[in-house]
């Protein structure tokens, strides 16, 4: 072991004492920073991952659309289904309607689907919490869970549906008669925003409501497992040609995903300041040590210890603090994330804020996603900052002239 590392380790773990309190406090600072960073980045990553999965689960990987109503969609669907990279393709139409049930109005997005093909693109079956997709016919609808609760409409209830087309009828002073539709089922995706604003009908019913007989707004596509949906989109754009356009799920939610990523990055930089402050604490405590040990440092120089190696001794201490803080911080973060549900519910019980939490974050459970890249970046930043914190004391120690240091009082 080189002497400067030995010296550093002796200063950290002095004989006769377990560990130097300076070291312990410095490590604690780095530990806190690394722990908070990993927890927050993992939870933010969990939100991102959950949203990504929900986006794919509620939209499919791709949407093939013309930008308007496509009356040749049947051919295109057939063609897509023959593509070896594509697992399933399902046409859909979508729009906004007004719903009313017992004087309760709502204005959800409505999605018209083919019940037999839709399930292969969007796992609607898995989302059903009441009723069944099999009961969805041309005179019935599926409601999302929060929407159903708002309308106080359960399976079997009849709701009134008004479409934008009826506005034209109104202008011509015709009598406005809503479509009465039966609630065949209720679904829940877990995505609060989606669960409070959507409903599902058959494509035929939607064509009828929107007067677009034989047309669709687009085709939802799910690619086979292991296939890169972005390459498929590129290929489809070349093969299908205008007016068709293949839009990937990341393009559909580009802004949303960007904001999500931005939030995560901003959190990283803000929380990095904890590590930065910890680095200042390291620099101060080590500078104090150098001042306290001026005469010893002079002695080591007088005994033939080189200035560079002496500097390395202090840089190593900073680095070692970073290593210990990173290990402890990562360990504690993983522990906290492992028991995050218990921690959150304890927190919610104490503050009575569980409902607010769900509403705000839109998830009933705190998700976490462990991205090795986040870990590497966080630990690298912690090591870098704590090693850099050693530079100032190291520089000072190296600059001390042994003769002057030994005269130091």
């Amino acid at each position: 072991m080189p002497w400067y590392i030995y010296l550093a380790l002796r200063q950290i773990f002095p004989r006769g004492r377990l560990v130097s309190p300076f070291f312990l406090l410095s490590v604690l600072g780095v530990t806190l920073g690394v722990m908070i960073l990993i927890i927050v980045q993992s939870v933010m990553g969990g939100f991102g991952q959950t949203y990504r999965e929900l986006i794919v689960d509620t939209n499919g990987h791709l949407r093939v659309e013309t930008g308007g109503v496509d009356y040749r969609y049947r051919e295109t669907v057939e063609r897509l289904r023959e593509d070896p990279a594509i697992r399933a393709a399902a046409p859909f139409a979508q729009g906004v309607v007004m719903l009313q049930h017992r004087q309760q109005p709502a204005f959800p997005y409505i999605r018209g689907i083919e019940p037999w093909s839709e399930g292969k693109v969007i796992p609607l079956d898995d989302f059903m919490i009441r009723g069944s997709l099999d009961d969805l016919h041309d005179d019935s609808i599926l409601l999302s869970s929060v929407l159903a609760r708002q309308l106080r409409a359960d399976v079997g209830a009849t709701v009134d549906v008004y479409t934008p087309l009826m506005l034209d009828q109104l202008k011509e002073d015709e009598v406005l008669l809503p479509r009465e539709l039966r609630v065949a089922g209720i679904y829940e995706t877990g995505w609060n925003q989606f669960d409070s604003t959507t409903m599902v009908a058959t494509l035929r019913l939607m064509q009828d409501l929107y007067a677009m007989e034989g047309g669709a707004h687009g085709i939802a596509v799910r690619v086979n497992p292991g296939v890169d949906e972005f390459q498929v989109a590129q290929r489809l754009n070349e093969e299908l040609g205008p007016p068709y356009r293949a839009v990937t799920w990341t393009q559909m939610y580009e802004d949303f995903l960007w904001v999500l990523q931005l939030e995560k990055s901003v959190m990283f930089f803000l929380l990095l300041f904890i590590v930065l402050v910890a680095a200042f604490a390291i620099a101060i405590s080590m500078l104090l040590t150098v001042l306290r040990k001026t005469r010893e440092i002079g002695l080591i120089g007088a005994m033939g210890g080189g200035a560079r190696n002496l500097a390395a001794s202090y840089c190593f201490q900073g680095f070692f603090i970073g290593v210990c803080g990173s290990i402890a911080g990562t360990g504690l973060a993983l522990l906290a994330l492992r028991y995050r549900d218990e921690i959150v519910s304890a927190f919610a019980t104490v503050t009575g804020s569980r409902d607010v939490l769900i509403q705000f974050y839109q998830f009933a459970h705190l998700p976490a996603h462990y991205n090795p890249r986040d870990f590497v970046i966080i630990i690298a930043a912690a090591l870098l900052l704590s090693t850099a914190a050693g530079f100032l004391p190291a520089f000072r120690a190296a600059r001390l002239k042994p003769a002057e240091a030994l005269r130091h009082e």
């Binding site: 030995y6 002095p14 004989r15 006769g16 005994m303 033939g304 210890g305």
Partner: protein
Amino acid sequence: MSDVTVDRMEAVLRVRDVRKSFRSGTRTFEILNGVTFDVAAGESLSIRGESGSGKTTLLNIVAGLETADAGGVLWKDLKAHEQSPRALCRWRRDFVGMVFQAYYLIPEMNALENVLFPARLRGGISRTERERAAALLEAVGLSGRMESLPATLSGGERQRVAIARGLMNRPALLLADEPTGNLDERTSAAIMSLLLDVCRGESAALVLVTHSPVYAAQTSRTALLHEGRLE
């Protein structure tokens, strides 16, 4: 002392016409004004002088910790005054041992580790070094206190550890700056005879700075630093 230079081949240290002055404000203090002396292997030289006469400064220049304004310092054949600080640092590790009035033990290490530290500066340590360190501690009468921390040792014991440390790398030259300055009379006498004995046993040349004419008389030669010159 009439003859401060010994013209023998085995001279370990040759100091030639060393001059040093310090500037303080507008005034210049000539501290060393042409100091010349030799020390041979196994020999001991004591330097006395008033406080502020420049004894520590002279030792520092001999050890290469300070540079002289003029003159030369030779460690055997090595022109110490012409070496770069880095090279000198490496040479000093192997050539010079130092003992100070205030011991300067490293408080985080026990006695044995303190003695071993110079060997670490030179490279790794093995059994040979450990055995030598233990033997040195035994020679200074501390075989039972090897695991003791400096804080638990008395002043005299600390200075014994420091002497053992100074000799760890078998230096050809040991410089001792008032090694008994902090100790009572009885302990001082013991330390002084120990220092002389051990240096003789290790055949290291000793340059001893002391205030006491009694201890000075025990060395093979003695000199007085007065007005920048050795007399």
